[in-house]
């Protein structure tokens, strides 16, 4: 919570707060979270949020497996992650307290809707005694708010069920008071959200205001304020990782002057990308909800052949189904972006949980020699830039590109400094010149890229396909030497993309005692841990990989800079092994976690200090 003791109008100053709302799926958790985040945005704070859904659409009430959550980390400084532990836990029922208590900071605040701590709900949650009464919460500041009862009683004009539903606003009122926020942004949000039913607007606003007032009556009610934000000036918005991916692709299409085609099949946690893109017919986005993942990618390959910027979005099991068609895209050398929002596997695994275990498949999962560039987004906001870059590489190098995201950054949100389209790099696909004789597999000498001839262009008629083709001419052939040449051409084309990547960077001392290697969506946690350890005086440096294939040109040099090197990833060591293949002279330690959960900053700190001390 980073308290500072400068009092101001009786409030403690804080710089950094993690709040988590938890309860049943029907408790309005996500809505409360969104309203709160919206207000934070209006105040101009940095933040990261993460929703935490149960696997079930509507699990039975009050069960521990049915708990839904929404976590917000906000600060006047840069926010790296949605946070490990909570300063404030807002619980709508006993089950949610049970599941989340272990992550509340010692001395943290627990706000409960005490109306819901009935004997029955305590029992279904598996409590044998009421934690609000048995002193088990003595190390926390517990605020008992009878939110459901109060909401019903102050909204007696409404039916009981609807009135009770406003309990989340009641508690929100308490929070606004706690942090000294004006109610204005919340009021606007509510007005907007329920715009067609004034009765609901009234009830929600009433509960919000009453909750605010009620909190004043509480003994020892803790009050805080946040100092002015230190973000770089600019225009900001809050953005979910999956939405950022969608927008990144759209931005690339606009920049390249192409139509965007999306061939996808819904799958958790990638579905939101398709959902978002379906909304944007106004920008000409063509979303094709295919009958399966195979049709998703093959329609995208068809659209690419026809001259669109084409992409397909999925998660692990869906990526598995695209393997054959990825090979076709390699062979036809057509640009497509394949987005994989990784989830916990193998097989169906744990669909709502996150992991980084599709890296092997992305690198190696094709029949034959079929290299594909891989970019891994490092945060929700980075999904925008990574998607843009994946599209740029695909279009300019005539190749499929895999963009790895994960459930954690894909479903999480963070604050996005809005770029200007004019500031994004140009994208220039290698269109064939209709006035020059066209050879489908002729390459330029520098990048080994073939030209793109779009159907409808007179004179460029040609054929592509999955059979091996002759160099330059693109005729079907089984000639032995030609095959080897083409295999090497395709390999070389991908290798050379490394010249387009920025050099790999390192933060921290050049000759650190420990170099931490990370990739993809774990960046925030690793940075957090390293900042903490650096503050504590450790000589520790960090290099984060966004470009996985090909590896940046200076990778070896960077990796040699640490006395010890540790690779942290949410799998059993896939990136570490890829590095071993490439850099045999470096010893790679590993820190791995396969629990469907992100790293916590604390466990990373422990792992690093342990290795440093060993």
């Amino acid at each position: 919570m980073n308290e500072e003791t400068t009092p101001m109008s009786g409030r403690k100053q804080v710089n950094d707060i993690v709040i988590k709302f938890v309860g049943d799926s029907g408790d309005g958790i996500q809505l409360s979270g969104n309203i709160f985040a919206d207000t934070l945005a209006h105040i101009g704070l940095d933040m990261a949020t993460f929703p935490d859904f149960p696997a079930e659409v509507r699990a039975p009430r009050n069960t521990t497996f049915g708990v839904s959550g929404f976590q917000i980390h906000f600060s006047n400084k840069k926010v790296l992650t949605p946070g490990d532990e909570y300063d404030v836990l807002v619980c709508f029922n006993p089950a949610s307290l049970k599941v989340n208590l272990k992550n509340v900071k010692q001395g943290g605040i627990i706000i409960v809707d005490s109306s819901n701590f009935t004997p029955r709900s305590l029992e279904t949650a598996g409590y044998t005694s009421n934690p609000l009464e048995d002193n088990s919460l003595d190390n926390y500041i517990v605020l008992q708010i009878p939110a459901s009862e109060m909401s019903i009683s102050i909204n007696s004009d409404l039916d009981k069920k609807s009135a009770e539903r406003t309990k989340n606003m009641y508690i929100l009122g308490v929070l606004y008071n706690m942090f000294g926020f004006e109610l204005k942004p919340a009021i606007n949000y509510i007005n907007n959200k329920f715009k067609n039913t004034s009765q609901l607007i009234n009830a929600n606003l009433k509960s919000l205001e009453e909750g605010y007032k009620f909190s004043e009556t509480l003994k020892n009610f803790p009050k805080f304020y946040l100092a002015k934000c230190e973000l770089i000036p600019g225009k900001y918005r809050d953005i979910q990782g999956n939405v950022a991916t969608a927008w990144g692709l759209m931005a690339a299409a606009e920049k390249a002057g192409l139509h965007l085609f999306i061939g996808s099949y819904p799958i958790t946690p990638a579905t939101e990308i398709l959902v978002e893109l379906s909304k944007h017919r106004e920008l000409g986005v063509k979303t094709f909800q295919a009958e399966d993942e195979i049709a998703g990618i093959t329609s995208a390959i068809g659209a690419s052949f026809a001259g669109a910027l084409a992409a397909t979005t999925t998660s692990g099991p869906g990526l598995s189904l695209k393997v054959e068609a990825m090979g076709l895209a390699v062979m036809t050398e057509l640009p497509i972006v394949i987005v994989d929002v990784q989830r916990a596997g193998p097989s169906t695994g744990m669909p709502t949980k996150s992991e980084q275990a599709d890296l092997y498949m992305s690198m190696f999962g094709r029949n034959g020699e079929a290299p594909i560039p891989i970019i891994a987004a490092s945060s929700s906001v980075d999904c925008f830039f990574a998607a843009f870059e994946a599209a740029k590489i695909a279009l300019e190098h005539m190749t499929p590109v895999i963009l790895l995201s994960d459930g954690y950054i894909g479903l999480g949100s963070s604050v996005f400094r809005i770029p200007k389209m004019a500031d994004l790099p140009e994208i220039r696909p290698p269109f064939a010149d209709p006035n020059v004789k066209y050879y489908p597999y002729e390459r330029d000498d520098e990048w080994y890229v073939r030209k793109w001839a779009i159907p409808g262009t007179p004179g460029l008629q040609h054929r592509v396909g999955g059979l091996e083709k002759s160099d330059i001419y693109g005729e079907v052939t089984t000639d032995a030497k030609n095959h080897e040449k083409m295999v090497i051409n395709r390999e070389e084309k991908i290798k050379r993309i490394a010249h387009k990547w920025p050099l790999q960077r390192i933060t921290g001392p050049e000759d650190a005692d420990l170099l931490v290697v990370s990739w993809g969506g774990t960046k925030g946690q690793v940075e957090g841990a390293i900042q903490n350890l650096t503050t504590k005086g450790y000589r520790i440096s960090h290099t984060h990989f966004r470009y996985i294939n090909p590896l940046p040109l200076n990778t070896h040099e960077i990796l040699k800079s640490g006395k010890k090197v540790i690779v942290c990833e949410l799998n059993r060591g896939q990136f570490a092994n890829i590095l071993r293949m490439n850099y045999q002279d470096i010893e790679f330690h590993q820190y791995n976690k396969v629990q469907g959960q992100p790293f916590t900053v604390r466990e990373l700190e422990n792992a690093f200090t342990e290795l440093l001390n060993s």
């Binding site: 900001y236 063509k286 009958e291 068809g302 026809a306 389209m421 054929r463 999955g466 079907v476």
Partner: protein, 345 residues
């Protein structure tokens, strides 16, 4: 005289001939294979239709039949096994101004590709699917396919298959198909005709062509190709015409109870007037289903051609409609839309 085709695909300024679509590739089908005749019909019909040459796209999967794109001078995509219809869907949606032709086999579209096949038919995406039905997997040298008759002895069914076959037409109708026609490889003119009809249909047109695989399934269609009795086994339907056939043009179809029955004109007081008139345009699939299912005689020609909105048209309409109503005209608009805030210096 053929009626001409009117739609949004641009027309060639100069008249075209089949020669314009001749490819420079050596044809690698077996001598005597029915495929040779089909590609000839296709080149003919491309010229007749008269779109700009560069607006034809031929897409295929894998199989002998799927080699076709190499033998037509057009944009071509030789895909992977079973995915021709999905690839073609992407091509068409991305650019509705292209004329799309899928060349596929009974294995490619009814075995591994069955799902894409029924879905494209359901969506009524404007494209033409030429399904070469030789009742066998040709390219992999003779295993039974989903259209091989029950009991067929093939490489993988040495004791006879134990599978009921699909009939293409029934599957198309079951998938909400709007166009189904049938031809026979050796009937080059009929093939050209039905391909033209397919092109003039807005929506997914399935043209099944009975094709003889001389190597692995020779004679599969003997019953309807042998000179002696083929006329009695073949009914070629035409929209608006009574369904009459036979060596002496004296046989015809009538509806009896719920079934189509073959009658002889002049017998039992039957006159030409009693014979059912073919209505390809009716939205109701029932009689079309009966025609597709019938074996004595087999029915050829355009069995169904009924208007319905196409996926690609609806997509373009939806885009125009949403564009017209939206304030968001470019990415900068979108990026700055909704809830944003400014941090000042």
């Amino acid at each position: 005289m053929k009626k001409s085709i009117n739609n949004t695909i641009p027309k060639s300024d100069v008249p075209l001939t089949p020669k314009d679509f001749e490819s420079d590739q050596i044809i690698r089908w077996c001598p005597g294979c029915g495929d040779h005749m089909i590609v000839n019909s296709l080149k003919k019909v491309f010229a007749e239709i008269g779109y700009k040459k560069e607006n034809y796209v031929v897409v295929s999967g894998i199989g002998c039949s799927s080699r076709l794109p190499y033998y037509v001078n057009s944009y071509g995509f030789h895909g992977i096994h079973g995915r021709a219809n999905a690839i073609a869907s992407g091509v068409k949606i991305a650019n509705p101004k292209l004329s799309i032709w899928v060349a596929t086999g009974d294995g490619d579209s009814l075995a591994i590709g069955g799902n894409h096949f029924i879905h494209v038919v359901r969506r009524n995406l404007d494209m033409n699917i030429i399904l070469f039905n030789n009742q066998i997997y040709g390219l992999t040298k003779g295993q039974y396919s989903p259209t091989s008759p029950l009991g067929a002895v093939t490489k993988t069914s040495p004791y006879g298959t134990i599978e009921h076959p699909f009939t293409t037409g029934e599957l198309v109708l079951g998938a909400q198909g709007t166009f189904f026609a049938r031809s026979l490889d050796i009937l080059v003119d009929l093939t050209t005709n039905v391909l033209f009809e397919a092109a003039s249909h807005d929506g997914t047109s399935v043209i099944e062509i009975f094709q003889n695989c001389v190597i692995f399934n020779d004679g599969a269609y003997n019953e309807i190709t042998n000179k002696e009795n083929r006329d009695d086994n073949v009914l070629i339907v035409e929209d608006g015409q009574p369904m009459i056939f036979g060596k002496n043009k004296d046989k015809g179809l009538v509806l009896n109870n719920f079934n189509l029955e073959v009658v002889t004109i002049g017998e039992n007081g039957i006159t030409e007037k009693d014979i059912l008139v073919h209505d390809a345009k009716t939205p109701s699939p029932f009689i079309h289903l009966m025609l597709a299912k019938m074996h004595h005689p087999w029915v050829f020609g355009v069995i169904r051609k009924t208007p319905a909105p196409t996926y690609d048209d609806l997509m373009e309409e939806q885009i125009s409609m949403v564009k017209a109503k939206s304030n968001i005209k470019c990415m900068d608009d979108l990026l700055n839309s909704g809830d944003t805030w400014e941090i000042k210096e």
